[in-house]
């Protein structure tokens, strides 16, 4: 299986994503610059956190028009696995690959903290190694992670089981609608989330709960392609 980690000017979690793939599942992984116009060689695309293009105008607004994003849209349509983390989530919503938008945290502060997430849907390629309802420990680091969508969209998200992670209990750190921390598209191959699983892949980092997102993706890919082609 081969992973691409997109790199925009201002990405700062690209190395964490690269290392998470390398260290947790040992698969091939490349950095792919935002000007690239070919993602055909990759099975999964990670859109990392950071401050793409300085987050000028709006988080993700400018990155969404980078040449590589046309290829991400194409890859999404082909059913490839796409995971947007933090700024990556913001970019995927701006690109229209995921519904809704991310607003400034309701408390105005940038928050960098461990958070408890509830796995709301373990029936995705990204979360199959978790149990439904399981509480996991994944850090957040964002100033604009307050997920918003209108009532109609929220009803659709619920009806299609697209809410993947919620902040557990009443710990909602940023004011997100329905405590949403991560969602998927209707097909389930595109996931965006504000918390950082790539920063929770070893107990040394405070938690290893993010590891299973990467093993889930690999397992899903193996199932799809047959274990024989695993490399």
């Amino acid at each position: 299986m081969k992973f691409a980690v997109l790199v925009f000017p201002g990405s700062n979690c690209d190395i964490d994503c690269y290392k998470a793939v390398e260290d947790t599942i040992g698969q091939k992984v490349d950095y792919v610059w935002h000007t690239s116009t070919d993602l055909s060689g990759y099975d999964a695309i990670l859109v990392p956190g950071g401050f793409s293009y300085g987050d000028y105008l709006r988080c993700g607004a400018i990155a969404r028009f980078a040449p590589v994003m046309n290829e991400v849209v194409k890859a999404a349509a082909e059913g490839k696995f796409i995971l947007g983390i933090c700024n990556g989530f913001q970019i995927l919503t701006e690109a229209g690959l995921l519904p809704g938008a991310l607003r400034r945290n309701s408390g105005m502060k940038f928050i960098c903290a461990q958070t408890q997430l509830e796995v709301a849907n373990n029936n995705t390629a990204f979360t199959s190694a978790y149990s439904e309802g399981e509480i996991i420990d994944i850090p957040i680091a964002h100033g604009e992670g307050n997920y918003y969508c209108d009532d109609e969209t929220l009803a659709q998200l619920k009806a299609n089981n697209q809410i993947v992670f919620r902040y557990a209990g009443d710990t909602n750190p940023n004011g997100s609608v329905d405590n949403i921390a991560g969602i998927s598209n209707e097909r389930g191959n595109v996931v965006g989330m504000m918390p950082h699983p790539e920063r929770a892949v070893d107990e040394l980092l405070g938690s290893a709960d993010g590891k299973r997102m990467f093993t889930s993706i690999l397992n899903a890919w193996r199932e799809k392609n047959g274990a024989a082609v695993n490399s």
Binding site: L57, R58, A61, I62, F65, T93, E94, G100, A101, R103, R104, N105, S106, G107, M108, N146, Y148, C149, D150, G175
Partner: protein
Amino acid sequence: MKAKVYVTIKQNVLDPQGSAVQGALHTMGFEEVGKVRIGKYLELNLNTSDRAEAEARLTAMCEKLLANTVVEDYRFELEG
């Protein structure tokens, strides 16, 4: 031609910056202040003299890039 573009958070969407400024103004004794909304103001110089075309182009710019219409409204004024 010069365009002034205003982007604001939709009325039904929480504006934490506006709320923080409102709170500060109240603390300072400006109790008459009701709701505060904070937005963005952009000045664009357009290389055209066709007003109708400029309006159509500006609408496209706002819809595509300058505003996120999920959470923001926009309006613009043309000068010259």
